[in-house]
């Protein structure tokens, strides 16, 4: 059996983390999820450095759900470094954020985000948004060749 596609969730807010995981569960998505709580942790995971040193290629996520406002290194910087590195350059990144500042949208797309979703306050809508993201990026979308 093919290895399940991994999700990297970059989220510092524990409530949002819990709600996102719940939304995935509610949608019966059983894919493995790695949670990084800030930008540094996300970069360590993606580039197998720090606590993640020694992990192999299979750790790389099929999709990264990236919050923008993060402690230490923020989401846009994570995105910039991913796009600058050969190993992560083509990985799909979905910005999942509270912000709907136009500048964030512009910067996100300019830095190579594949999609930009603003988290709705209504949890039912949020569950629906996560379902569609999962369906699209984990099921329908053909990822870049490894």
């Amino acid at each position: 059996m093919m290895e399940a596609k991994r999700i990297l969730l970059v989220e510092d807010n524990p409530d949002d983390e819990e709600l996102t995981l719940r939304a995935l569960r509610n949608n019966h998505m059983m894919n493995p999820v790695t949670v990084a709580h800030d930008g540094v942790e996300a970069l360590d995971y993606l580039f197998a450095t720090g606590p993640y040193a020694g992990l192999d290629e299979t750790r790389l996520p099929a999709v990264t759900l990236l919050d923008l406002k993060l402690p230490r290194v923020d989401g846009l910087e994570v995105l910039r470094r991913m796009r600058a590195d050969q190993r992560t350059r083509l990985l799909p990144v979905v910005i999942l954020t509270s912000s709907r500042e136009e500048q964030d949208l512009i910067d996100g797309y300019r830095l190579g985000a594949n999609s930009y979703i603003r988290k709705p306050v209504d949890f039912a809508q949020f569950v629906e948004a996560v379902r569609q993201v999962g369906l699209y990026w984990l099921v329908m979308n053909e990822g870049p060749p490894r």
Partner: protein, 504 residues
């Protein structure tokens, strides 16, 4: 010598003389002979002359003087001075008369030679008038007028110059200008420039307006505006300078410069304060957008989790309360979003261009219809409404006004929304009119305040930011917005997009 030989010898001198000449009878004053020059100059034929007397060619008022002159005992040759003669056509000419008594054909007579001095007299009069005019100008001119000769010595020094520099004319005439009114550090340049012009004709300061310093008799220096014109007369040039004390103007200019600099500095400070405030607002908006929503999401999300995962443990009242918690958090999210929209509209840079208001209104109407296709609302949108403004902002204004109308007509049997323009002179007035719930004009002053609502949420949902947004957009265009309404008789919102000329 016989008389005839005298005639033969001298007659040509008389007849062909270019000066007008005649001979008259000293007793009767009758003309006895005239020459061709007299005939030409005076316009009488010889025959006419010989019919006339001397008094006939004088103006009547001169007759007395003539008679006295003639009767006075006279030497053989006399210069009898200046007279006025009348020509045949009535014109008077000025003449100098030389006469010589002689015996002509047996009669005591006088030979008269006429020097016509009319032109000279006219030229002299013109010169006198011109001199008088020049003196008057020099005397009464507000500007200093100073003339120097080619060696730089003062020739003219008018009263204004006397007042300005503190020297009387008598003290400066004939003295070198350089020693009088030119500051020591400029004297050399003055002397050199004068010499160079006299030698080569080259100049830098002539015939144009220049600003320099000058010095008074008490040694004080002051700024002057100056123009110098060379006058060429008999080879050696003279120079006339027109000077004006510009101390006051310089002070005013200096003051103006200082005030401008101060103003610029103040503007710069204000701008940087404003920029700081704008940056702060930006940071605040960002944080509102991001941080205030996250807890709301948790409240809503966990309420729903409680509802779904623990519904057995909850009774009906608990479930209703959870519903209300969720509704409240979503409403707060809506408030935050509306506030953010408002702040964004305020901050966004405006792009001015012609905007098709009618097309915008039709697009908004289409969008509204899609939100509830079951409603049957009649839109009446006037054609050809164009205004200059920011399209995005104007669309937001129309969206707010028209969605209000859409909302407040929801209970009407035949809802109608009209978008149009008032016909009239002056600034264009646009309006959005509906036949909906309207409002009591007594509260119209509250209409445009943030979070102000004239209807309960139960009646009509809303956050109370829409009209604040409209007003802000209209104000950013320099226009104004106002409303007319009556309860249950609809509302009309009017707006302009540039200042009313009438109110300015």
């Amino acid at each position: 010598m016989s008389a005839s030989s005298v005639d033969e010898t001298f007659h040509p001198l008389f007849a062909g003389n270019p000066l007008a000449m005649w001979i008259y009878d000293l007793e009767t004053l009758a003309f006895l002979e005239v020459n061709d020059a007299a005939v030409t100059r005076y316009g009488y034929s010889r025959e006419e002359f010989l019919q006339m007397r001397l008094t006939d060619i004088r103006p009547p008022e001169d007759a007395q003087r003539l008679l006295e002159d003639v009767r006075s005992r006279r030497p053989d040759l006399q210069l009898s001075g200046q007279w006025r003669h009348r020509l045949r056509d009535g014109r008077l000419i000025d003449v100098e008369i030389t006469s010589h008594t002689l015996n002509f054909r047996g009669r005591a007579a006088a030979l008269v030679v006429v020097h016509d001095v009319t032109d000279r007299k006219q030229a002299e009069a013109a010169l006198r008038r011109s001199e008088a005019r020049k003196a008057a100008i020099l005397k009464s001119a507000l500007d200093c007028i100073i003339t120097i000769d080619h060696e730089g010595r003062v020739v003219d020094f008018n009263p204004a110059a006397e007042r300005t520099f503190g020297y009387p004319f008598s003290e400066v005439v004939g003295r070198p200008l350089a020693d009088l009114i030119i500051p020591p550090d400029l004297r050399q340049a003055h002397t050199r420039g004068l010499a160079r012009y006299c030698e080569t004709g080259e100049h830098v300061v002539l015939n144009r307006r220049i600003e320099l310093r000058a010095v008074r008799s008490d040694g004080s220096e002051f700024p002057v505006e100056l123009a110098i014109t060379p006058i060429h007369e008999d080879g050696k040039p003279m120079f006339t300078g027109y000077l004006r004390d510009i101390s006051d103007r310089k002070r005013a200019e200096e003051e103006l410069r200082r005030l401008n600099a101060e103003l610029e500095e103040r503007v710069r400070q204000r701008t940087s304060q404003l920029e700081a405030a704008a940056a702060e607002l930006e940071a605040f908006s960002y944080s509102v957008s991001h941080d205030l929503r996250a807890p709301l999401r948790a409240i809503d999300g966990f309420s729903l989790v409680l509802f779904e995962d623990h519904s057995q443990a909850l009774n009906d009242e608990a479930r209703t309360l959870l519903d209300r918690i969720r509704a409240a958090s979503q409403r707060m999210a809506q408030l935050i979003d509306d506030l953010l929209d408002l702040s964004r509209l305020t901050r966004a840079e405006m792009v001015w261009r012609p905007v098709d208001i009618a097309a915008l209104a039709r697009a908004v109407a289409t969008d509204l219809t899609k939100t509830d296709p079951n409603r049957n609302v009649t839109f009446r949108i006037a054609d050809g409404m164009v205004a200059s403004g920011d399209e995005r902002l104007l669309r937001a204004a129309l969206e707010n006004l028209m969605s209000n109308s859409w909302k407040f007509t929801s209970r009407m049997a035949e809802p109608t929304i009209e978008v149009g323009r008032l016909n009239g002179s002056g600034v264009d007035v646009f309006f959005v009119r509906d036949n909906g719930a309207g409002f009591d004009m007594a509260y119209s002053h509250k209409l445009f305040g943030v979070f102000q609502r004239l209807h309960s949420v139960r009646e009509f949902p809303g956050t109370g930011i829409g009209l604040t947004t409209v007003r802000r957009i209209v104000h950013r265009h320099g226009g104004r917005v106002w409303a007319e309404a009556a309860v249950d008789h609809g509302a009309t919102f009017y707006f302009t997009l540039r200042p009313d000329s009438a109110n300015e």
